[in-house]
Symmetry: C2
Subunit: 150 residues, 2 copies
C-alpha cells in the first residue's frame, strides 16, 4: 500500500513546522510570562476589541469551552476585563494587558518574520501567502460546513 500522497506530504511538513515554531515561540515568550496561545488571544483583542466571547473563540479557532477557561486565566492575571451586558460578556484589554502586549509585540513579530526571512525571498513569501490563503479558506469553509451541519 502507498505510504503517502502529495497532499499528505504537504500536511506533514506543515504540521511539523507549526509544532516546531510553536515550541520556539513559547520559548521566546516565556520571559514575558505568556504562552503562544495567550499572545494570539491578546493580539486579536488588540486588533478587534471589544469582542464577545463567541466572536473571540471564532477568531482564534477554539471552542466556547476553551476560550472560557483561557479568559478566566487571563482575567486572573489582570490582562483583560470582561463586562457583562444582558447575557453577553464583552472582552477588552486592561491597561496592564495593553502595556504587556506593547512590550512583547515587536519581539514576537520579529521572531515570526525570521522563520520566513531566513530562507525565503520576498516574492517567494508572497507566493506562499497566496497559496496558504487559498487552502486556509478552503478548510475554513469545510469546517464551518461541518459545524453548521451538526
Amino acid at each position: 500500500m502507498r505510504k503517502n500522497t502529495r497532499g499528505s506530504l504537504i500536511w506533514l511538513r506543515m504540521t511539523r513546522f507549526v509544532d516546531q515554531s510553536n515550541l520556539l515561540s513559547n520559548h521566546f515568550l516565556k520571559p514575558y510570562q505568556l504562552t503562544t496561545a495567550q499572545f494570539d488571544v491578546l493580539m486579536q483583542l488588540f486588533v478587534y476589541q471589544p469582542l464577545t466571547q463567541s466572536e473571540l473563540a471564532e477568531k482564534v479557532t477554539v471552542t466556547q469551552g476553551g476560550i472560557s477557561r483561557m479568559l478566566v486565566r487571563l482575567e486572573q492575571e489582570g490582562l483583560i476585563k470582561r463586562t457583562q451586558e444582558w447575557k453577553t460578556k464583552t472582552i477588552s484589554l486592561t491597561d496592564k494587558g495593553q502595556q504587556k502586549l506593547a512590550h512583547v509585540f515587536e519581539d514576537q513579530l520579529a521572531f515570526q518574520s525570521s522563520l520566513f526571512d531566513d530562507c525565503l525571498s520576498e516574492s517567494e513569501q508572497k507566493q506562499l501567502y497566496a497559496l496558504l490563503s487559498r487552502i486556509q479558506k478552503n478548510s475554513e469553509r469545510k469546517w464551518k460546513q461541518y459545524k453548521g451541519g451538526q
Copy 2:
C-alpha cells in the same frame, strides 16, 4: 504601531489552517476511535518501525514525557507493543494496530489530499511543498539548536 508583517500573516494563516484541518481530521477519525495525534504516531511506526521511544518522540515533534503517555494509552488499546531490552524500549505495531491502520489509511490520506486538491493545481501543490520544505527545515534547525543548547 504596525499590527503585522508578511511573516506574521503567513504564520497566522498557517496556524489557522492547521487548527481547522486538525478538527476536521479528528472528526473523520472518530468512527475509528483514533485521534489525529494517535494516527500520526501509528503512521510513523508503520513506516519506520521498530523505533525507540526517543526516536519516535523526535519524529512526531513531541517531548519524551508526551510520547510516554501516548504510548501507555496506545498500549492499553493493544495497538502497539513495547519490548524492553537493556534500558531501551522498542516500539512496534501489534497485528491489531497493523489492521486498524490498514482500515483507516486510505480514508485519512484521501482526506488530507482533498484539503489541497480542492483548490490547488498540481503545479501549485509542488510549489507549496517546495516552499514548506524549506521553512520546515529552517525551523527544525532552529529547534534542534535550541534543544541542543539547553
